[in-house]
């Protein structure tokens, strides 16, 4: 660790906070249906969309109808994307002549992009046609993000409304998310990324003759338009196999900052929007501080572990010290232009949010460095989390936290004036239990079946980490991987797809049920006995609840994976 690296972490948080606060104010207006400066341009367009699509914007939905709409919107998109992948060989815009995607891989990929996971069992440049990347990946990057944002908005309305039967209109929330937030930001970010060197063309792969006279075929394509929304929508599915480590997908340290800030911007902004929408900005600020604190800890641990490097490589007489002339540390799977600090920030940010893009290969991180992304996901993707999903996941933890606080003093817990009763607490616990059930359940199955064991590339504890990481990433809808795992098999394609569906829809539906239940309640004015949820005591309690639930659940399996690997490596034991 050095001063230059720490300065970059500070710059990152400064850029993020400076962007998130105004964006939060803007998004609060969008979801409250207020006019914004984009209205004259986009307003007529928005109304035309509703007309063409038979959406009645004034018709509010009960939470069950809202959930059903979200599910239908996902299912139709999933089927369309599956069809495009299966038919790509017959469709235009396929200069590299990619063949049809095999059924199990297309199934896995369609679910992966529908659930905002963007786990990739394929290499983009060697599998997908340009048209597939556009009609499939790019579109899903928008729509899956908008679905998450809509669900959050419904939940926030649950708090803001009193004795209401409805929570909003799903289609309106989704369309407004895309039209007023995601699309304008994506246009700006696309152009910034091309400026930094990202390709955006339909050129066929270029054949170059290197200085030493060897042929080198260079893959490119309409990269920037997809990568922009891949980060803004916390999707993370790369245009190229190496994702944001690929110099075309992340050409410079500045593009890297844009991508890292982009993937937290909306999630962080929504926290501030939440505060405004419920009429108490302090509540949003408290959640922001809780999330930021956890992110800082993750980045610091990861940076420290990676900067220390691999002790066995150092023992070979290799210089791992960082300086102004060398990145040092553990550079396996990392790019020189990013070095150690930016790889650590990226790894923690991409897994704290549900983005899952990578600018360095997590599988080759040191055991503790690689445990940080794993733990971030296990905590439930609430360290800013996916757009929308992160905050609604965090609010579920808040419900549990106020419940625990209520137990301690013997009062009915309340949050933002809504009493948390049996139904809400049960639904919140259900959301939380889905995680270990899916991660440890599927992980255990893979550990005993030959088809599961066959996928591991590493022996010993690291092999367990690879499998554990895969099901954690799928359930958390993250999408990053310990890439050594051979996931493109019938077994992994199917079980990972199941984990992604569980992690998405078995959380969205109970969350919307909480929204519906809260919206129907009265708002109780705060009294002397109300536990304040905007102070440092509450922030501490909330973090403790998240860490204790995550820690108690996953510590045993972490001890068998990265923790034992760390001590083995220090002792010079190899596998």
């Amino acid at each position: 660790m050095n001063a230059a690296g720490i300065l970059q972490i500070v710059v990152y948080f400064a850029v993020l906070t400076a962007g998130a606060i105004p964006l939060g104010a803007y998004m609060a207006r969008i979801y409250s249906g207020e006019r914004t400066w984009l209205d004259p341009v986009l307003g007529p367009f928005e109304r035309a969309i509703y007309k063409v699509c038979c959406v009645k914007p004034d018709q509010e939905q009960h939470w069950t109808v809202y959930a059903f709409s979200a599910l239908m919107f996902s299912v139709v998109g999933l089927l369309l994307m599956y069809a495009v992948m299966r038919l790509q060989a017959m469709l235009p815009l396929n200069p590299a002549g990619q063949a049809a995607v095999p059924p199990d891989l297309a199934f896995n990929t369609a679910i992966s992009f529908t659930t905002n996971t963007n786990w990739q069992n394929y290499g983009g440049e060697s599998t997908m046609a340009y048209l597939t990347q556009m009609l499939g990946m790019t579109v899903k990057n928008f729509t899956s993000a908008a679905t998450g944002m809509a669900v959050l908005v419904a939940l926030v309305r649950g708090f803001a409304r009193r004795q209401s039967k409805t929570v909003g209109n799903f289609y309106v929330d989704a369309v407004r998310s895309i039209l007023y937030i995601l699309l304008p930001l994506a246009v700006v970010v696309t152009l910034a990324l091309v400026w930094q060197g990202m390709p955006q063309s339909f050129d066929a792969y270029t054949e170059a003759t290197t200085l030493e006279g060897v042929k080198q075929v260079i893959a490119q394509g309409p990269v920037a338009s997809q990568v922009a929304i891949k980060h803004l929508g916390t999707n993370g599915g790369g245009f190229f196999n190496a994702n944001s480590a690929h110099p075309f997908e992340n050409p410079t340290a500045l593009s890297n900052l844009i991508e890292m800030a982009g993937e937290l911007l909306i999630s962080a902004g929504l926290v501030f929007a939440f505060g405004r929408m419920i009429g108490d900005k302090r509540q949003g600020r408290a959640l922001y501080i809780a999330m930021a604190l956890m992110l800082v800890v993750g980045i610091t641990v990861c940076y420290w572990a990676e900067a220390a490097g691999n002790p066995l490589v150092q023992a070979m007489g290799v210089d791992v010290a960082s300086s102004d002339l060398a990145p040092g540390g553990n550079m396996e799977g990392k790019e020189v232009r990013f070095g150690i600090a930016n790889s650590a920030i990226f790894a923690a940010a991409t897994t704290g949010t549900s983005t899952g893009a990578v600018n360095a290969m997590h599988d080759s991180f040191t055991p503790i460095g690689g445990m940080v992304p794993l733990v971030n996901m296990m905590l439930g993707e609430v360290i800013f989390g996916g757009v929308g999903c992160g905050l609604h996941g965090m609010i579920v933890f808040v419900i549990v936290a106020v419940f625990i606080a209520g137990l301690m003093v013997g009062r009915t817990p309340e949050y933002l004036g809504k009493k948390m009763e049996t139904r809400e607490v049960k639904l919140a616990v259900l959301c939380i239990l889905i995680f270990p059930l899916s991660i440890l359940g599927f992980g255990a199955v893979a550990m005993v079946l030959p088809a599961g064991l066959a996928g591991m590339s590493a022996a010993g504890p690291h092999g367990l980490s690879e499998v554990l990481y895969a099901y954690t990433s799928a359930t958390a809808n993250n999408g990053s991987a310990f890439g050594g795992l051979s996931g493109n098999t019938l077994f992994y394609n199917t079980t990972l797809a199941a984990a992604m569906l569980i992690g998405r829809f078995l959380i969205i539906v109970p969350t919307l049920a909480i929204a519906g239940s809260l919206a129907a309640k009265k708002i109780v004015p705060p009294s002397a006995g109300t536990f304040p949820t905007h102070g440092s005591l509450f922030i501490g309690l909330l973090i403790a609840v998240i860490v204790v639930i995550g820690g108690l659940t996953f510590f045993p399996v972490l001890a068998l994976g990265p923790i034992v690997e760390h001590f083995a490596l220090a002792a010079g034991t190899l596998f």
Partner: protein, 205 residues
């Protein structure tokens, strides 16, 4: 509830056209006008042929050139399509090694690489920097650290029969610092450096 299927379907189709065709096509048009070089892959031409991209690394094996970092990219085995063979800097199949830090095979191959690079650079004046013995995440890293270039400098100078100080001046002109002095790391673009080297001290054909 069934009534909700129609808007879901229509909205999906409309958004597919808008975001899947309209948005990328518009972006391609605008980006191609504003930033034509970058939009088409930052290709470098020399005497009318494309010699590579400024952003994509390539393999250098001759002692007269500065070498790139190790690359773990592969290609399909010509003898058996279900298998792969190493194919460094294969720009249609980007990947890292994904080697585990505790893997015996990884530590052994790294040791072999360290021995090989030390043998190739007997006159190196600094310790072997870590980025020169580790594969990048993409397998296409266009850069090496200034230390990795300095490590190879005595070998390259000797191969060209030139003074190290002269070569060091050329390297300095090709070294890029952190963006705005803050972001990222100092680096040298290996292809651009070798092109500059060719320009200044052409190789005997």
């Amino acid at each position: 509830m069934i009534k909700q299927i129609l808007p879901a379907t229509l909205l999906t189709l409309l958004l597919t056209v808008l975001l899947g065709l309209g948005y990328p096509l518009a972006m391609t048009g605008i980006a191609g006008t504003l930033f034509p070089t970058q939009a088409h892959g930052s290709l470098i031409e020399k005497n009318g042929t494309v010699v590579g991209s400024a952003l994509i690394g390539q393999t250098f094996a001759k002692p007269e050139y500065f070498h790139s970092r190790p690359s773990a990219t592969t290609d399909a085995d010509p003898a058996d399509a279900t298998k792969t063979v190493p194919s460094p800097y294969n720009a249609v199949n980007s990947m890292g090694s994904n080697a585990a830090p505790s893997s015996k095979a990884y530590i052994e191959s790294t040791q072999a690489l360290v021995d090989q690079i030390k043998a190739e650079n007997p006159d190196a004046r600094i310790p072997l920097p870590v980025d020169l013995v580790t594969a990048s995440g993409s397998g296409l890293d266009p850069h090496a650290s200034p230390a990795a270039i300095e490590y190879q400098l005595p070998r390259v100078a000797k191969a060209h029969g030139i003074a190290e100080a002269e070569l060091r001046a050329l390297v300095a002109s090709q070294t890029e610092g952190r963006v705005f002095g803050i972001l990222g790391e100092a680096r040298v673009n290996v292809l651009k450096l070798n092109l500059a080297l060719d320009e200044r001290w052409p190789l005997a054909k």
